[in-house]
Symmetry: D2
Amino acid sequence: MIYFNCDYNEGAHEKIMERLMQTNMEQSEGYGCDTYCGQARKLILEKCRTKDAAVHFLVGGTQTNATVIAAALRTHQGVLAAQTAHINAHETGAIEAVGHKVLVLSSENGKLTAQQVEDAYQAHIADDSFEHIVQPKMVYISQPTELGTLYTLAELEALSGVCRKNNLFLFVDGARLGYGLTAADNDVTLPDLARLSDVFYIGGTKVGALFGEAVVITNPAIQEDFRYVIKQRGGMLAKGRLLGIQFLTLFEDDLYTEISQYANDLAEQIRETLGRKQVPLLVENRTNQIFPILSDDVLAKLGEKYCYTYQQRVDEAHSAVRFCTSWATKKSAVEELCNDLLEML
Amino acid sequence: MIYFNCDYNEGAHEKIMERLMQTNMEQSEGYGCDTYCGQARKLILEKCRTKDAAVHFLVGGTQTNATVIAAALRTHQGVLAAQTAHINAHETGAIEAVGHKVLVLSSENGKLTAQQVEDAYQAHIADDSFEHIVQPKMVYISQPTELGTLYTLAELEALSGVCRKNNLFLFVDGARLGYGLTAADNDVTLPDLARLSDVFYIGGTKVGALFGEAVVITNPAIQEDFRYVIKQRGGMLAKGRLLGIQFLTLFEDDLYTEISQYANDLAEQIRETLGRKQVPLLVENRTNQIFPILSDDVLAKLGEKYCYTYQQRVDEAHSAVRFCTSWATKKSAVEELCNDLLEML
Amino acid sequence: MIYFNCDYNEGAHEKIMERLMQTNMEQSEGYGCDTYCGQARKLILEKCRTKDAAVHFLVGGTQTNATVIAAALRTHQGVLAAQTAHINAHETGAIEAVGHKVLVLSSENGKLTAQQVEDAYQAHIADDSFEHIVQPKMVYISQPTELGTLYTLAELEALSGVCRKNNLFLFVDGARLGYGLTAADNDVTLPDLARLSDVFYIGGTKVGALFGEAVVITNPAIQEDFRYVIKQRGGMLAKGRLLGIQFLTLFEDDLYTEISQYANDLAEQIRETLGRKQVPLLVENRTNQIFPILSDDVLAKLGEKYCYTYQQRVDEAHSAVRFCTSWATKKSAVEELCNDLLEML
Amino acid sequence: MIYFNCDYNEGAHEKIMERLMQTNMEQSEGYGCDTYCGQARKLILEKCRTKDAAVHFLVGGTQTNATVIAAALRTHQGVLAAQTAHINAHETGAIEAVGHKVLVLSSENGKLTAQQVEDAYQAHIADDSFEHIVQPKMVYISQPTELGTLYTLAELEALSGVCRKNNLFLFVDGARLGYGLTAADNDVTLPDLARLSDVFYIGGTKVGALFGEAVVITNPAIQEDFRYVIKQRGGMLAKGRLLGIQFLTLFEDDLYTEISQYANDLAEQIRETLGRKQVPLLVENRTNQIFPILSDDVLAKLGEKYCYTYQQRVDEAHSAVRFCTSWATKKSAVEELCNDLLEML
């Protein structure tokens, strides 16, 4: 069985594994206060072209989302998010478990528009009984989204503008950020994210690391006492240097860019193959997730050899599914898949 | 200004006020352990034709909803509710603040169907990543709904059936229950509610009392230790007898029924007047809330003399608003309103 | 049976009951936005000799404590309190239920000292692993304390000084404040409380009202959006004017002072009687709670006629108990009790 | 600088690192559903001589404690623990953040007695206002404790007996369990822990792994839906096999025992050296933590070369500190320390 179901089937990039081996018996400070974390922080700040941001390393995405939101919001405040947002759909209510409502906005392609946010904010303050309603205080978006789509720089600037005008935090979940930064149609950079959001994170788990998310906090209001909240929410790794070493390796020599580009190229290859056979896609995108709509017959046949994720039923005979590539996907596996697709379709 | 904006503008029914005066200097046990609470409990159980239910008295609705849900659910469980549900829309995230997600289902008329609940439940257990999704464990409905509509006995039986089949709790918010029980098109009784739900409450605040909601818990799993949770969530009134005295008065001589019927009759009178002028309603119902769609001109004129609640914009020139009657509404006020409506329309 | 077990056995002062009767059928805005609440707010601010404070009315003490603390603290912050503090001992973990640790300091007489607070604060910031420890951010005291003792003005000023120096909120629970303000040995006034604390409340439930606590918030950081939190935590009474009317009545013509003084006088009478018989007290105080240490024989005999609260075992043959007077205690009941005590002892 | 300050300064045992390298590019199911986790579970169950327990792998201790407690307790329930308990002292209020009070019992040596638990339980149910007090429902102990002490089998059996009699859960935090199981004075085995507790965990982070705690749940009431809670609380590692591989390696060929024994032997060597110089210990124990009381002069000199943890001031001139050995401590480092101690003292 060849796995295309997600982008975290394998371990870590070999350079990371080597570095972990080399440093294994070194003694260091715990909880992210070691020199590797220090160097990784410095490097990430350079890549973001900022000096004032705080950088913290956490283990996983759900943990990071809950920690950031718990640190940023007061009890009566909620977070605006698309229906498909990971925090709404796939974290077992982690945000509600820390006491905050996810204020859901509808979205076809996983993205929110600045207008939607403005409307939601205005609707709140215009309501006579606004104090009986959760106060929108943060906007959560993912880049790329859960559907693999991307915000353009213009869209991101518009969102950021609405947020700043209305005193809302903008929080960008970058669990797959590498695949966004290197997508063919991307025009958003790390410095843009640092400049336009209040807090965002750079995903490691899905982009070359064993695990790990690097949170970049530019807004001082969220920076304060953040490490207390990491500890409280169970995200403070005792051997924190494991995170520092991984992010240091990913950002030295632009490994992060290189391996993300690699995965995107493989995805484009699959997309091209599907296009040759006029296979419709549930959603258009250029990142490492592909959402073809295929007949149930073809899916059954594919399923004998390839592992993919079921997304949703489209009509009586067709379903949308998800294929992912990653830094670890083998070229030969993609070629095999493409050949099989050409044959079956 | 004449207030039709809600059903809690005035104090309490005169019989309640008299009883509170008479008993004012009596000494009694606190926290709901007095004899008045005891008698009220007994009377409510009789009206529900059950012996095994637990009856508790709380002060207000938001408090009651949060307390019941906190008592019933484990941390990873959520509550299915209509988009318009009070717990979703108008309690400042009280349910999320106790850690639980409101799992929203769409609804035009404020009601959920048994099929919707079944579908939501099946979708959850069929999902491969079900453990990454909040587990539906309770269904919250209101009777009447926030739009004044009613579940028929058949609908309630179907909902109850789906809940029992799937091991879900059925929780009925009866903040306006009196106006439901006495509506022209109602076929649901207190014994039906006790038989078909796991927990429901009989609203006092909006139906003749100064304040107070009587929670009837039939499911032993929710009964256990419920008083601890009331105390923890701030709902245990020190002078608990105030609640006992009020509910005792409401349920002796069927005062609750009588005053609810009175309010519904006045609502029907307004509805009839609107009907004579072919005024469309946002939603059809026979309880104490009326949702006419009127032109903004007429609304402006009405607004000089009457207080109503704005509901939603319908088109460029029309809006839906809410008029409420209650046990305290004066017949003369309704007549004046009806005359003015006939004149203006 | 004559009840001396607590100070909330009866209803409300007759002037309050009359006012509630008079205004019963008036129509008013809900949720504390009515004119009675407005007038009561204004009057309380005058009594506190401040203009900038916010005044809110809630129903009960546990609710008020949880609401204030939820509004004031971030997720990693806790509240320093005496072991005997109501929030630590008698609110079923309401503070923990909103996510905050009560940081317990030992106390013999129910009071905290400025030095204890300073030490706790310094210990926190001096600890290398301070981020692994709950951050002290608020000091909770009660005036009078749960043991009926009082902070002197000097003590309160010292506490306030330590709090301001270390950027801690000072929160004063005044559930029995009237009995403190009018105690023979008191030198703290309402303006002192407003000046020295960040938030405090004036108890109504135990001092003449049916229910109700008036929260005075002087610190703008806690004022912001406070009504959202009241609603979320279930403390926003629909018929909010019931609270306004009660506090208006209590603070017009200094009724609050008068009835508190009355209760204290009766307590002094009991204390004097006990003193004549050399009955030791668990704790010295001059407010409405008395804690005599009596032999179990005497207690058994007293228990046949009087209801008191068991406090703690002192030795094999003696226990400390609590007798309370209140605004509602009958002079004749106190005389009877004193006569019986003189006879039995 | 040589680190003796904690037992998580280095990475992982070389056998674990090798295994992680070997399996790095394998594709596997995520979230702990892979075959390595399956094998590790099976092996752990065998070691515990039980078949019915559930085994889950989480990343860290704070996370594990909060997850277990969130899964096990209802909202009004709390957990009895020693003052020194990690959940009370060093998790930034993680337990309170999930809504539960830590009910603190005093302890000199980090251990609770069965009698203390019995007394606390009886005090609760005997209190007239028990519903106003957090209900004790779980007992949390650590083995070894935070002070390196151990429960004997007899003590553990007594605790377990009291818990079962009173329907309390017994939860054993085994973050350093290896160092307990192999201590010179230990008579408790893994099957004993499985038999006597409701849930316990086997620490990996401090005993040879990069990270990871293996939770063994024997009580079905806590087993139900546990994976939902892991996910919600941020503890579900995407590449869950990393945990499986580590625990598999630790429990094959009894590596866990071997490396724990090694650390304990080194600790005994340090203890012996201290004993030769009559250095008093803050607490007697035979596990990998040593708590000598040394003069501030000696400590300053030691601090130039060795990193230790400050524990507490003992008198004007002496403090207690902590030295830890671990699976990774070098024999040469211990020899150097012992020589230096002999010289300095």
